[in-house]
């Protein structure tokens, strides 16, 4: 296990921000955190980074606790983006890499590589405040991975980006993972977690409500969707035993069912109604799981 969090709990006075968090991420894996605002994601990251000490429990990185001695191995993209507004891009990227103990010449080389990769080499001599928000975010990501960390922590890396830039950053992060880096990231975009992560957990009010590999999470959710496409009126099928939810679509209906036997009953009933064009059992999306576990208000 590269990164292990064992029963980490963080209390601020009477308030428990993170409650008994267990987590283990293998070397080279990507781990996703889902959670609403205030769920405890940032506090968890700060504990992993060593900025906050857990009230109880511990965090281990390759078997050791994380101190400032391990700072060259760690890269961090905070949720609240932070760069010196009045400093030139190249100056601050090199400064931040130097703080993580990368030699200046090496930092410069890496910086040029990443600026090229993100198609913004001409921003090197500009001040950060002159850049657009999306471009600032690219610089912020470069600041997090310039020094070649083996553990990369990304707090909401894709928020506020246009789809083209999201793809660009996603592919960069995936390449970085292929080089062997362990990556933890948080998001409230379920599709990003679904697409990128091996394992994940959903946090709610400091507690892990669901965790495991994405397949496990979906399977253990137990509920599945049945999509039926046919021309007949389908609202009657909502009364079939095991159907929890019925939603009409433009060419049929979507049913949420509590177990697989309900799918069989649905198929039987549907065939009685007329000609069936399409029948499929679908896995639930993370979004559905998230809403079911955490509540609609956050979605």
């Amino acid at each position: 296990m590269a990164l292990e969090v064992k029963g980490a709990t963080k209390k601020f006075g009477g308030f428990t921000a993170v409650d008994d968090l267990h987590l283990s991420v293998d070397q080279g894996q990507m781990y996703g955190f889902l959670g609403a605002n205030g769920a405890g994601k940032t506090t968890t990251f700060r504990m992993i980074l060593g900025l906050l000490d857990p009230t109880e429990g511990e965090v281990r990185w390759n078997g050791k606790s994380i101190t400032y001695a391990s700072s060259p191995e760690i890269g961090y993209l905070p949720e609240e983006r932070g760069l010196y507004p009045k400093m030139k891009v190249e100056e601050q990227l090199i400064y931040l890499a130097q703080l993580r103990k990368m030699p200046k010449s090496e930092a410069k080389k890496q910086m040029e590589h990443w600026l090229d990769r993100f198609e913004v080499p001409h921003y090197a001599t500009k001040k950060v405040e002159e850049l657009s928000k999306g471009n600032q975010q690219k610089i912020q990501l470069i600041a997090a991975l310039l020094h070649n960390p083996s553990l990369l922590i990304l707090d909401e890396p894709f928020s506020g980006l246009d789809p083209v830039n999201v793809e660009m950053l996603k592919s960069a992060i995936l390449d970085f993972q292929k080089q062997g880096a362990t990556i933890i990231f948080s998001s409230h975009r379920m599709d990003h977690v679904e697409e990128l992560c091996d394992d994940m957990s959903i946090l709610d009010h400091g507690k892990v409500v669901v965790s495991g590999s994405i397949r496990e999470v979906k399977r253990s959710f137990g509920k599945q969707n049945v999509r039926i496409k046919m021309d007949s009126e389908l609202s009657g099928l909502a009364d079939v035993h095991g159907v929890e939810n019925y939603t009409a679509t433009h060419d049929g209906a979507l049913f949420r069912i509590s177990d697989e036997t309900a799918a069989e009953r649905l198929l039987e009933e549907a065939l009685k109604l007329g000609k069936l064009r399409h029948f499929a059992i679908e896995e639930p999306s993370l979004e559905e799981i998230f809403i079911a576990k955490v509540g609609k208000a956050y979605a």
């Binding site: 400032y68 905070p78 609240e80 983006r81 932070g82 931040l96 130097q98």
Partner: protein, 414 residues
Amino acid sequence: MHNFWIIFKQAFMPKAKTKSFIITTVIVAAAFFLMANLPNIISVFQGSEEDGSVLHVVDETGELFPQFQQQLEVADSDTQAMQTELSEQELTEGIREGSIEAYLVLEQGEQLSARYVAESANEFTGDIESALQAMQTAQTAETLELSEEEMTSLFMPVSFERETVSESSKSQEELSQARGLVYILIMLIYVAVIYYPNMIAMEVANEKSSRVMEILISSVSPVKHMFAKIAGVGTLGILQMLIFGLAGYTAIKTAGTDLTEGFFSVFGFSDVKIETFLFAVLFFLLGYFLYAVLAALLGSLVSRTEDVQQLMLPMMFLIIIASLIAFSGIGMPEATYVTIASYIPFFTPLVMFLRVGMLDLPLWEPLLAIAIMLATIGLLGWFGARVYRGGVLMYGSSQSLKDIRKAIRLGNNK
């Protein structure tokens, strides 16, 4: 240690290269040269008037004028007298036209009498009067037929000396000689302990408000970050102060006058001792560290740079009180309240320096004050580091000193 130097350099180099830093340094250094050369500059402007200040003397007897001129010389007077053949009417005309400043009519009757005629009555005639008075006395002495001895004793000047009882006290003359230098140095220390710690607080608040702080302290420990920054800005301060000191010293040495006349006779620079400079550097450093730690602590509590000044206010009051004591104490450095204040660490840099500069203190007094300051800096450094560690992670709307407790609690968990 590696990181320390990188932050140190980052706190020092960009600022030393800014235009505002270079321009301020040059302007202040130039001001020193201007001040040191003030007497020269004044005399250049006065030089043109000197020709007009010749006193025309009408002396029909022909005997009085040489005596008068002799007395003026004895009194070391600036007045230049010249015997004239012109009539009074012509002289009066000259005064109206402005070609003559004033004239004096000397007459010998029973007694010596004189009339001074000038355009207005506000001209200073003290030295002329005393010259005439001396002539009169000499004449009277002659008519009384006094002996040589009696004459000498009549003109014997009074012996007048000031003595001081306190041992540490310098003579009035020595005080005056030191005052100007001490005043300027106190001024510099005062400005420095306001300016540089403010810079620190602004920087810290800036890094917090731009949120780059979170990246910094995930790379480097907050305590290291804080002290490296303080050291970096401190070095910048030393550099600037050294330039000022060097400029001031060169200015005094090259000014061509010894800066003892007129204004400088009570505000002197003639007693320039190397110890005074050394103590100035020492107290600048101590004062800077004390206030810089305090400023970093306060800066770490705010989330927005706009709130810095508000939180810095109590600290500013401390410095202002210190300066009030120091500047009022410059006239009476032995006052009890000055002595007491010089041991209070927040006042020591200004007030103890004043006492060291103005008085001949036994060495243990400044050393004791320095020891108290060092202990305070150590204590404040320890406390400040604890607040800083939590403060930099804290974001919120309420910005008051109460947040110190919250910050310690947050930092404590670390």
